[in-house]
């Protein structure tokens, strides 16, 4: 299948949050009720049973009388080169040929390495199953020829699923239109970030206004860990074992040759 993507066009979104619930309906996720503390979005972040959340960020632009209410649907970005896949000791992550970063719960042992490798800290630990969970881009639906649950339910077409290059072309078109019509710094997010994402955003303002990192990076420690420590550093142990074995042999041979009596006392 061609490389797919989910495009989220903020300028069409009314934050009806149908996507969040359709995701829960399809992926059979229980509700996680956290108290309201003054923002419509009651979750700080996604959690083990909530694959996607909708952020509400208010901004006062000048002249002072204009208010902007930025909405952002936040979920796994399905990176081309996923950091989660890189760190997972069990190889539970695979990248489907059409672009979804798929996590196979059967292989997962709940070590949570991926949570902190992800530049967006998306994969979350589900305690009752001792497993990691995250948005699957509805692998089962897409491979059965359907669209993901969130884009299928989106009333205004803010979320659309399809071939990535086609969506990018549409987005380029749309961003030109938006820049000319009242949204001067509309941007496309996900085309180049982290080498490209299978989740594309069409933002009406700069990414930081939506709580998205302008230039996301895989955290330095993780790269160091995975590229240097894991593959090479480990060889010290066999080195030590080999050294000891070698010494074990040579000391006995030399001892025998020099006729000493290798008992505990003197040389």
């Amino acid at each position: 299948m061609a490389n797919k993507a989910n495009l989220y066009d903020v300028s069409k979104c009314t934050a009806c949050r149908g996507c969040i619930i359709a995701c829960k309906d399809w992926n059979q996720l229980p509700a996680v009720i956290e108290p309201f503390k003054g923002n419509y979005c009651t979750h700080e972040d996604t959690n083990g049973d909530t694959f996607t959340i909708m952020r509400f960020i208010e901004e006062e632009t000048d002249p002072a009388d204009d208010v902007k209410w930025h909405f952002l649907k936040y979920q796994c970005m399905h990176c081309f080169d996923p950091a989660c896949m890189k760190v997972c000791p069990q190889g539970a992550y695979t990248k489907t040929d059409w672009g979804a970063t798929f996590h196979n719960p059967e292989k997962c042992i709940g070590c949570q390495y991926c949570t902190y490798a992800c530049p967006f800290t998306i994969p979350k630990y589900r305690k009752r199953e001792d497993k990691i969970t995250k948005c699957t881009l509805c692998v089962d639906r897409v491979e059965a020829g359907l669209t993901p649950a969130c884009s299928r339910t989106c009333p205004t077409g803010a979320l659309s699923f399809g071939d990535r290059h086609e969506l990018l072309a549409q987005a380029e078109e749309r961003v030109k239109f938006l820049r000319a019509n009242g949204f001067p710094n509309a941007t496309i997010y996900g085309k180049l970030e982290l080498g490209g994402l299978n989740m594309l955003y069409l933002l009406t303002d700069t990414p930081d206004k939506f709580g998205l990192p302008i230039d996301p990076k895989v955290p330095g420690q993780i790269t160091f860990w995975q590229d240097w420590v894991q593959p090479y550093f480990g060889w010290l142990i066999p080195l030590a074992l080999a050294g000891s074995a070698f010494s074990f042999v040579t000391t006995r041979i030399l001892a025998g040759k020099n006729g000493e009596h290798a008992e505990g006392g003197h040389e």
């Binding site: 902190y116 420690q221 160091f224 290798a262 006392g265």
Partner: protein, 229 residues
């Protein structure tokens, strides 16, 4: 083929390690090995067979955590009951001097079995000092980063992220030292006697005199008598 020199009860022996130090050492050895084996399950990609022994990955995870907690307890007991021993140990480390450097430089030859004349050593020779500096720091790093990784939600994400490489590096260093220390402390001719120092607490008087003259003098030799008056 004599692996570890025979325990000579009939020979004059001097005490090398007290009971708490030894109990901590061997408790630490067992738990560290357990942690190592169950930890390698994640570190090595092809270690699935290892996981099977511990009943699958979740089993390995469980044993790893049990062993880690036990290890921590041993350390705590060690600190509480033999704090003076630790202080002496550190003091000895601080005496790291010329002799120790020479010892370390000559050590590879001795390691391979060539007879080598070593300068007089304190309670812990140059190599042991190195080991005493490297292994405890690695273990402390292991324990700290271990608990942080166990409860990541409590700690800032940045700190949790840095724990992964630290845990691995510390594990590799500690294991490297353990391999050398394990071999040297038992099967290596010459230093084999120190096994009994750790196992039963005493070493042969003549061995101590020869291998650790400064230590011997200060504790059991003349200087000790002078100090005792």
């Amino acid at each position: 083929m004599q692996l570890v020199p025979e325990y000579r009860a009939d020979v004059k022996r001097v005490e090398r390690f007290n009971f708490v130090a030894r109990m901590t050492h061997w408790g630490h050895t067992v738990t560290f090995i357990l942690c190592l084996l169950t930890g390698l399950v994640l570190f090595l990609d092809s270690a699935d067979w290892l996981a099977v022994i511990f009943g699958g990955f979740s089993g390995a995870g469980l044993v790893h955590r049990i062993a880690a907690v036990t290890l921590t307890i041993f350390l705590v007991i060690f600190v509480i009951f033999d704090f003076k021993g630790i202080v002496d140990w550190v003091k000895d480390l601080l005496r790291f001097g010329k002799n120790d450097i020479i010892f370390v430089m000559k050590f590879p030859l001795e390691f391979l079995g060539f007879p080598v004349k070593m300068p007089p050593q304190t309670r812990f020779n140059g190599g042991e000092k190195g080991n005493s500096m490297l292994t405890p720091t690695s273990v402390i790093l292991l324990v700290l980063s271990g608990y942080i990784m166990w409860f990541p939600a409590i700690f800032p994400a940045g700190l949790v992220r840095v724990c992964y490489p630290i845990h691995d590096i510390a594990m590799v260093l500690a294991t490297f030292m353990v391999c050398m220390h394990g071999y040297l402390g038992s099967f290596h001719p010459g230093s084999g006697e120190s096994f009994w120092g750790m196992w039963k607490g005493t070493v042969r008087d003549d061995w101590a005199q020869h291998h650790h003259p400064i230590w011997y003098e200060e504790t059991y030799g003349d200087k000790a008598d002078k100090d005792a008056e």
